[in-house]
Amino acid sequence: MNYLALSAWEIAEKIKNKEISSVEVTKLSLERAKSMNETINGYITICEDEALKKAAEVDAKIAAGEKLSPLAGVPYAMKDNICTKNILTTCASKMLYNFKPPYDAFVTKKLDQADCVLIGKTNMDEFAMGASNETSYYGPVRNPRNTDCVPGGSSGGSAAVVAADMAYFAIGSDTGGSVRQPASFCGVTGLKPTYGMVSRFGLVAFASSLDQIGPITKDAKDAALVMNIISAHDSMDSTSLDISRPDYTAKLNNDIKGLKIALPKEYFAAASADVLEKTKEALSYLEKNGATVEEISLPVADYSLAAYYIISSAEASSNLARYDGVKYGYRAEKFDDITDMYRKTRGEGFGKEVKRRIMIGTYALSSGYYDAYYKKAQQVRGLLKKNYDEVFEKFDVIASPVYSTTAFKLGEKLSDPVEMYANDLCTVSANIAGIPAISVPCGEGSDNMPIGLQLMGKPFSEDLLLNIANIIEKGGRN
């Protein structure tokens, strides 16, 4: 039995039934993680001792007859921009090369309380800025489906380790597509919740009004189970919604008769032939199951990309200002005075892409430019939200590709950052509008590389998105 290839919920059941212990499963995962990491480089840190200790605790609880949560004893991976107490949290940056937070993120606590077993911190684009996991201080991550290709980003490590069975599920963060796009490139499922559903406390901030933590899993059911653990109100996050959450697994097997799906043509305009073919196939399958599909136009979509890059860079320039070498992290060795220390520390500690975004963001906020850039971008944001609200009055769900192509080769897109940015068109809108979005595998291209279909829903409709994803998985998956 290839235990490592099972879903999280499948292995959890076997652990509960004592067919296999959590310690044994954890050992298998750790072995696989260590042996494959040389190639995949999905992990920055593997915490073997902590994991085995936790797994032993879970086994003891099971032996004592305690009733445990549905994912108890299951090994998982956490993106390295989410704080784990006393465990290195680097954000894949030289700036935080030695940072061990004295506190857990909210989601870390929740997963620990649910008795999941953290086996490592995953590689990512530095400070979550990127779409290919090539900007990491710790080297790029490789796509398990083809190690010459990128896994996507910024949660490239999280997607890769799930796709390579180096963990049963992973937690990522999504600011403009960073959970969905790597999920799409690696052939796994990735969900970005409605803004405010999952606490950002302990998530190292990139763009405060766009960031959300989400699960990257082998199937929709796993994603639903993880959401049941991490989606909760947190009084330490002022943007955390104080509303009740459903059991995210409840609607998984609902039928979708009468589901109205909108297809904004702007999102399909740049898609490759392969991507078009597979996404359309998935949509046909949904039609066969009773859904209706209609093409619409979302003209504001074209502005969402510019709005995204202005807003996210502006907020990032402020959020990353605290990395100054004064209190923690990297500090330059030689400097003349405080200003020189700041310059050298930040010059040496940050990678190129991070510096690029900080400069763009600082410019967009600066005196004389604020109105033309940041303020304007926020106004566009309001318009986009309004547009989406209007669409959702007539439709239940918006569908699109996740990305215009399958995973590209390492190094292929590094020379033109703006072109790289332009490909985020399909994913950024969900962050701008704060709505939930899921990426579900819907086939492979002629290069045998995975393709994902994106579904976006009204606020708080994660369970519906998971439902649709579940149907696609059951029916159309290659």
Binding site: A105, F201, S318, D324
Partner: protein, 477 residues
């Protein structure tokens, strides 16, 4: 050419809430370095702010007490700059939508009433402290003060002299202290001010170029700084020069101000709305609730003491300088003591003995009720004024009830006329020469004879009664 000074002042006051503005750390002065901090107020990666509602309430209270309009929906903004004592490299403040606007404070200078406008009051977090001289060649950082809640009170440039400024600051401090939102201890840094000074030719409408002066740590420093700046700018203008718009640093030791930074070096703070916090929405009810908790304010109280209680302006000013003093005074009166004797005793012997013993109003060992009792025992003739001072001393020593003290020390006055007459007769009999002198017109011997009676009675005879009766007795002889 005569120049008119135009002065505006920005006051930062630390609010006396239990906890800090965005986290649960204790809001306390002092304490071991870096002991009142947490990941939130030290801006560690992944930390997020959560607004302390009490801070908003205190700010609203200050706004209402200074006659401001309260903004029903306001927001917080990030003010971005790099400095080692600012852990997030931005301060959460309020930029263009402050909590309170368009208010004012009434002051009285040289008998003239004047209104100084308050442009705005907003909330923000304090930064940490840089310690420059503890270790050679290094600066140490203490983050205890990070996240301490502040209100910034900005005045209109309505002041025209250092006297105006003095009155404004004293009144503002008294208001904040009265409503209980700040302990206003300048020596602990809970009240700081920046002073803006410009000059314009008398009669001109437009303002001149202004300079901003920082690092003013005392009110007297503010006054000296203003006067220095007026003099400095006058000299420049009279010599045909122009004033540079700049920020200067007041150096109390040398009594001068020094340039800190020029307009070109001014920071671009790149303000933008704080995305981690929700808008502050305030209901009418809530404003009313807070308004209902505002006590009679110091300048109103002072006027009432003058007009209704008939106290002189000086006394009224002294008794209203802090709420604890005013409350004590009113408390004493509430037990049946008249305003004049209450104020005399408090401002005189109570404060005198209090200062001798290095005590404060907060640490007075006796209650207002006890003081009232003591004063009433004088009024009802039980003890003399002199004896009362002894009683007060004893109250400071051991906080006993005045009646107990009077008994223990045997201070009861002898009021019985019969007993006094008996002593008078003895004294007159023993001092025939004095009686002769009196008959011959020497009025001053009365004093000597009264003294003798007091001595014979061991100080217990009621001196007023003795005076009265001795005159009667002498006239009969």
């Amino acid at each position: 050419m005569r120049y008119e000074p135009v002065i505006g002042i920005e006051v930062h006051a630390e609010l006396s809430t239990e906890t800090k503005i965005y986290c649960g750390c204790k809001n306390k002065f002092g304490g071991e370095i870096n002991s009142h901090c947490c990941p939130v107020c030290t801006g560690m990666p992944g930390s997020l702010p959560v607004l302390n509602g009490k801070v908003v309430d205190y700010a609203i209270k200050a706004g209402l007490a200074m006659d401001c309009d309260i903004t029903r929906s306001s927001k917080q903004d990030r003010k971005n700059y790099f400095y080692p004592d600012l852990p997030k490299a931005y301060q959460i403040s309020q930029f263009d939508l402050p909590l309170c606007v368009n208010g004012g404070i009434d002051i009285v200078v040289d008998g003239q009433k004047k209104r100084i406008g308050v442009t705005r009051i907003h909330i923000e977090e304090d930064a940490g402290k840089s310690i420059h001289d503890a270790v050679e060649g290094k600066t140490l950082l203490d983050y205890n003060r990070c996240g301490v809640p502040l209100i910034e009170i900005v005045s209109e440039p309505d002041m025209r002299s250092s006297a105006d400024a003095r009155e404004y600051l004293d009144t503002l401090k008294a208001i904040l202290e009265y409503i209980g939102v700040s302990d206003c201890k300048m020596q602990e840094g809970s009240l700081r001010c920046d002073v803006n000074v410009s000059l314009r030719p008398e009669g001109q409408k437009e303002f001149g170029v202004r300079t901003e002066m920082k690092n003013v740590n005392t009110f007297s420093g503010a006054i000296k700084g203003i006067e220095y700046e007026i003099k400095r700018q006058t000299e420049i203008l009279e010599n045909g020069g122009i004033i540079e718009q700049e920020t200067r640093r007041w150096d109390d030791a040398s009594g001068t101000s020094l340039p800190l930074r020029s307009k070109e070096e001014a920071h671009d703070y790149r303000y933008f709305p704080e995305p981690d916090l929700m808008p502050i929405v305030i209901s009418e009810e809530h404003i009313k609730e807070i308004g209902d908790t505002i006590p009679e304010l110091p300048h109103v109280k002072k006027q009432r003491y003058i007009e209704s209680l008939g106290l002189p302006e000086y006394d009224a000013g002294q008794l209203t300088q802090t709420k604890i003093i005013a409350d004590f005074f009113e408390n004493v009166m509430s037990y049946g003591v008249e305003a004049k004797p209450a104020s005399n005793w408090i401002m005189g012997d109570v404060w005198g003995m209090m200062n001798e013993r290095y005590l404060t109003m907060e640490t007075l060992p006796f209650t207002a009720e006890m003081l009232a009792k003591m004063i009433k025992r004088i009024a009802d003739g039980t003890i003399s004024n002199t004896a009362a001072k002894q009683v007060l001393e004893a109250m400071f020593e051991n906080a006993k009830d005045p009646d107990l003290i009077i008994d223990e020390l045997g201070l009861k006055q002898v009021n019985d006329e019969g007993a006094i007459i008996a002593i008078i007769d003895e004294v007159l009999a023993a001092n025939p020469q004095s009686v002769e002198d009196f008959k011959n017109g020497k009025q001053q011997v009365v004093g000597f004879l009264v003294g003798q009676v007091m001595r014979a009675s061991k100080g217990k005879a009621n001196p007023q009664t003795v005076n009265q009766l001795i005159k009667d007795a002498l006239l009969k002889l």
